[in-house]
């Protein structure tokens, strides 16, 4: 099949997708911008750490500094002129954007005509993409709750006192990596997949493939117990139940094992990462038990997401744990 540029243009130029196209540039730019300042500060820190005399006398910022200058300046005009300037620039940008691109308006709402693909607004496409990997109660309810609570506990579990109020990379390697994986990898990237990769029927279309609504994806997904060929029907006579009942119970009990194994392996992995360097060990010792348990729980749950994506996309496994009430 020829590379379908038109399809790419159609998706990228849809007015409602402009923010994501913008984010494709803005997110890497600001990531670079933050890390660049972090690395500049790290160089300064390296100098100060190697030279005790400099640590006492040298100005501890990368910003320009002259002893004659005052440390604080008047808000009016030095800060507020910047604010007014930015407000004007944003207004101009918004005007230009609004004059050149029209807000989308489709046909009147019609419950009888399904949109294909029916997509949530772009900022929720990450959650919609998770629907592929988890049942709706996890993807739509538990995950968002965990994200919100997880973000809110960050200040209470990060017991590293360094890097408060300045950009740095070396002093906060672990927390910065965690946040980048979460924000860029699991949030922005999922939105990008949901926007550019997922076509009609929420099927996977590589860039350049035509979004063919007629395409049929043969579902070959299996549950983990099927991969292992778990068949509990031989238990039926022992427990005096039907073969089907016994099979359901066997599946439900089997599913607990991979989950427990995941939690143990993930906990060991998280622990290894958290205590890898001397500095990490020092921070680790400062944490209370409650902080540790909270941090490990959220990190393990966060890790479960890429694991499930991998299992689904590469190994075509749907559920790990199947019970009569819910499946994971």
């Amino acid at each position: 099949m020829p590379f379908d540029w038109r399809q790419i243009w159609e998706v990228a130029s849809a007015p409602d997708n402009v923010p994501i196209v913008a984010l494709l540039f803005l997110a890497p730019f600001y990531m670079w911008y933050a890390l660049r300042q972090g690395i500049a500060n790290d160089k300064l820190i390296a100098i100060l750490e190697s030279d005790a005399q400099a640590a006492k006398t040298k100005y501890r910022k990368t910003q320009e500094w002259d002893p004659k200058w005052e440390r604080e300046v008047h808000t009016w005009p030095y800060l507020m002129r910047m604010e007014f300037l930015v407000a004007i620039l944003v207004t101009v940008l918004l005007m230009a954007w609004s004059l050149t691109l029209n807000a989308p308006l489709e046909e009147p709402a019609n419950p009888n005509v399904t949109m294909n693909p029916a997509k949530a607004p772009w900022y929720f496409l990450g959650l919609q993409e998770m629907l592929v990997y988890f049942d709706p109660w996890i993807a739509g309810v538990v995950m968002p709750t965990l994200i919100i609570v997880g973000l809110m506990v960050i200040p209470y579990i990060d017991s590293n006192p360094l890097g408060n109020g300045y950009y740095t990379y070396k002093q906060r390697r672990f927390s910065i990596w965690t946040f980048l994986v979460g924000f860029i990898g699991l949030w922005v990237l999922m939105i990008v997949i949901g926007t550019f990769i997922r076509g009609p029927g929420w099927m996977w279309f590589w860039p350049g493939q035509t979004w063919d609504a007629e395409r049929v994806d043969y579902a070959v997904n299996r549950n983990l117990d099927q991969v292992f060929g778990i068949d509990g029907s031989w238990l039926a006579p022992i427990f005096h139940t039907t073969k089907d009942q016994a099979a359901i119970w066997a599946r439900a009990i089997f599913g607990i094992f991979p989950l427990v194994i995941f939690f143990i392996v993930a906990a060991i992995l998280v622990h290894w990462v958290c205590t890898r360097t001397e500095f990490s060990k020092k921070i680790y010792k400062r944490m209370s038990l409650l902080q540790l348990v909270t941090m490990y729980t959220f990190l393990i749950l966060m890790l479960s997401l890429p694991i499930k994506i991998l299992l689904r996309l590469v190994f075509t496994i749907k559920y790990i744990w199947v019970t009569p009430w819910f499946s994971i």
């Binding site: 913008a22 750490e49 609004s98 009147p108 997509k119 924000f183």
Partner: protein
Amino acid sequence: MPEENGDGKSKTGVLEKAKDSAAALRETLTEKAKQQATELKEPEKTQLYRSIFRVKHDEEPRNRALSVLSNVFFHLHPAKVNRDATKYNFTWGMGGITFYLFIVLTFTGVLLMFYYHPSKIQAFRDILYLENDVPFGKLLRNMHRWAAHLMIIAVWLHMFRVFMTGSYKRPREFNWCVGVLLMVLTMLLSFTGYLLPDDQLGFWAVTVGTNMARATPLLGNEGPGGPQMGMTPYNDVRFALLGGSIVDANALLRAYIWHCIAIPLIVAIFLGVHFWRVRKDGGISGPAPVMLESEIKEERSPRPVILRPSGMG
């Protein structure tokens, strides 16, 4: 006045007096007018001006501080700030841009409300009317739409910046939490607005979104434990969100009220708390002098409570 009528002499005296005083008045009036006209060249000395602005706007340090402190809008700021914080590179201005976009959205949103009825019969027609017949209606709707998208990006980048500068660390932990809630509210604001044009795009986006509520554990009719809790499509959490079992007239009205009244009010309250805490937690976090590993102090247990004096922050 019978007495005066009998005295003709005093009558002419009054007339002359009046003429004299009229001439005098003419002279002083022109002089006063001239004088007051020249005074207008310095409007900042007039009573009117002083009643509004109260302080001189010159380069005196005292007056620069007062012009911030004595203005209800500007006094969100401290009188003085860290000199390096006024540069773009530390804050990226994302928090300010978010707030400015919130104001733009309130303004354009109120204008849009003049042309919109939240009813199934009129909603879509109102949008057509707005786009085709209302002067600048299309521009108004476009600005509202794109400002909303821009606000979400600005909120995310603001959070990203606050994380990368470690600004959520003590003593700003609580304000980070308020910020997380504001971010969630921003996305909910945008989401509730999505349904209002009552077109296919909004309808199916909201259908997809609220269908997930069906699966809420315990509270949704398809969620784990839901049926055991007695949940049906007619009493579960999705029903509460939509005001019905399908996305229809009640859902439109609910989205409208959440979008235009309830969430903006909640956001305004949280914004107040957010800004207040920025000041009370010691102002903007940096750019702070770097700290060295050797300077980490032992954690004291229990941690001392940090009490800061109110005011200049």
